[in-house]
């Protein structure tokens, strides 16, 4: 049951071999047993989950089932979910029962999926290890002394430990792809603008994009079929014809040109990750793809640019948390300014404060041009690099993360080292391009290696095809960590 694909689960539900209530109970039981150790979920609400399961069973019984009806899905705690505690991993929102649903949640509800719980995450999605969560670190199920990656670490852990068949996530600079890589699961961040940001708590609005984490590319395609869609309440939501993301899965890869950016294969990548990526490339050669050496010359600037633009946008977005309308308010204060200052000092953790301060600084008088505008100009150069590369190939590949999962605490006191975790993922985010990570074997101490796949704008169906064909000839995506407790 635990390793079944979304399609297989759907078939079981539709043929009434299992009910959604039974399936939901099964996963809730597993969450109850495993979450104490892994801390992948911030909120589990059996009653609300089962209510949705009953509704799903009614839909199935009356022949109104959609492809994912009745399937339990875990949602990152960044998505506002009506009636559910929605914390964004922060003390600031530790009392926030959302009065409304995010667009993504509305779409899952319409489909009749079951919310199996809200997953842990780095506070306000700021982090690459899940260690900045107010609710404590998530453990990587492959090795509980290591981090699951972040910021969607709870979602990646939940899927890796089979506590949920699939999960939602969000990616601003790598927050879906990096945890997917470190937890040995598949993750996709679609083209910016495809998934509505309505009700998705904002970090850096020009970069934030919802996406999915699942066991396989085929499952991700089904998740995108639900999540992608126009929403007038997000001013950057794109109006496009509906796509079926499963349509190209079975196409052969003969003649596919895969670009390997020389900057991604230069120094910095650890030997074990390099071996995993090289082996994957060999598989792609066997599948009929041709490798092309390409160059993304401004790669090394993507981290500096990202750490100017994302904090700048964050400092503006997070100004709404002032202790007036919702969220944490300090108990004692002298006047209005003191109330703001204390509420924010108490409600935000160290990493969030650090980024607000960086952002406020780069936007302040006298530094705006030197930092913010400069970073926006370099952002264009980074996007142009990709435009050049996509004249020579259809897909870009490389490592998702320079190392396998690192130890808890190893980078948490060194923000700079932590920021460099996003080296390979931030560039695609800045360009607004879709990116994926899929399991590509294991590195040192049997920790998962992720293969990074970047495509051109709106090429998700093709990327999923590329990933799916690899998953037809390898079995890395079917491997699961040994869990003795259950």
């Amino acid at each position: 049951m635990l390793n079944l694909s979304l399609k297989q689960l759907s078939t079981l539900l539709e043929s009434k071999k299992i009910s959604s209530v039974e399936l939901t109970r099964e996963f809730l039981k597993r969450v109850e047993i495993l979450n104490q150790e892994y801390n992948a979920f911030i909120t589990v609400n059996e009653e609300m989950s089962l209510d949705q399961a009953y509704v799903a069973d009614t839909m199935i019984a009356s022949g109104e089932a959609c492809p994912l009806t009745g399937i339990p899905i875990a949602h990152k705690d960044i998505f506002c979910t009506k009636g559910w505690l929605t914390t964004c991993g922060s003390k600031m929102l530790s009392n926030f029962i959302s009065p409304y649903d995010a667009h993504v949640i509305e779409r899952f509800n319409m489909t009749g999926t079951v919310n199996i719980g809200k997953t842990n995450m780095d506070e306000f999605a700021m982090g690459s290890s899940n260690e900045t969560s107010f609710y404590g670190s998530v453990k990587n199920p492959w090795d509980i002394t290591t981090v699951p990656g972040g910021s969607s670490g709870g979602s990646a852990c939940a899927v890796a430990a089979r506590m949920a068949p699939a999960a939602t996530g969000t990616d601003t600079g790598g927050s879906i792809r990096q945890p997917a890589a470190l937890c040995g699961v598949s993750g996709i961040k679609p083209t910016y603008g495809l998934v509505s940001r309505y009700g998705m708590i904002a970090f850096a609005s020009s970069l934030d994009q919802g996406g999915a984490i699942a066991k396989s590319a085929a499952d991700l395609a089904l998740m995108l079929n639900v999540m992608v869609g126009f929403d007038a309440r997000d001013s950057t939501s794109l109006q496009r014809d509906k796509e079926d993301y499963t349509r190209d899965l079975e196409k052969p890869l003969e003649g596919l040109r895969i670009g390997l950016p020389k900057e991604y294969f230069a120094e910095g990548m650890s030997d074990d990750v390099s071996r995993g990526v090289d082996a994957a490339i060999t598989e792609y050669n066997k599948l009929g793809a041709k490798m092309v050496e390409v160059s993304l010359p401004n790669t090394k600037l993507s981290i500096p640019v990202y750490y100017v633009l994302a904090p700048a946008e964050a400092s503006s977005n997070l100004s709404r948390f002032d202790g007036v309308r919702y969220g944490h308010r300090a108990l004692k204060y002298a006047d209005l300014d003191d109330m703001y200052e204390k509420s924010r000092a108490q409600g935000f953790g160290a990493e969030v404060k650090r980024r607000i301060l960086i952002g406020t600084y780069v936007l302040s008088h006298g530094y705006y041009d030197a930092y913010y505008i400069k970073a926006q100009k370099l952002r264009r150069l980074i996007a142009q690099d990709f435009a050049e590369v996509f004249k020579q190939c259809e897909i870009v590949m490389g490592p998702t993360s320079s190392t396998v999962a690192f130890a808890l605490g190893e980078r948490s006191n060194d923000p700079l080292q932590m920021y460099l975790s996003d080296t390979y993922t931030a560039a695609a985010s800045l360009a607004g391009l879709p990116g994926m990570s899929i399991p590509a074997g294991f590195g040192n101490r049997s920790r998962p290696v992720g293969l990074h796949i970047i495509g051109n704008y709106f090429s998700e169906a093709h990327m999923l095809n590329v990933a799916h064909q690899y998953q037809q000839v390898t079995d890395w995506h079917t491997r699961m960590p040994e869990i003795t407790k259950v």
């Binding site: 009065p99 950057t236 919702y326 002298a334 209005l336 200052e341 150069l381």
Partner: protein
């Protein structure tokens, strides 16, 4: 350029985050490292480049000037730290 302690305190004040002297000193060390990385941006000549503010070239959508939201102030205010008579309470700002 290099950051000094006063910069950190000024920025914290602008961002309305209370910060102790000790926190400001730790923050200064960390920000100095981060800005050292950020300074790499200055190595590239961008004088002819147009800033990119957004990933997609889209035009802002317009909508009809009609009310689309329903009144939910009671629901929303049920989440507020302090409310009275349908108003959010904050410390007095005008004497």
């Amino acid at each position: 350029m290099s950051l000094v302690l006063e910069d950190v305190k000024l920025v914290a004040n602008l961002a309305r985050i209370k910060i102790s002297d000790e926190e400001a000193r730790t923050t200064l060390d960390q920000l100095t490292g981060i800005f050292y990385l950020i300074e790499q941006m200055q190595e590239v000549d961008t004088s002819t480049i147009v800033p990119m503010s957004h990933a997609q070239d889209v035009v802002q959508r317009l909508r009809m000037d009609v009310v689309t939201e329903v009144d939910q102030h009671e629901l929303f205010q049920s989440l507020a730290p302090q409310v009275e008579g349908g108003l959010y309470l904050v410390p007095k700002v005008i004497e």
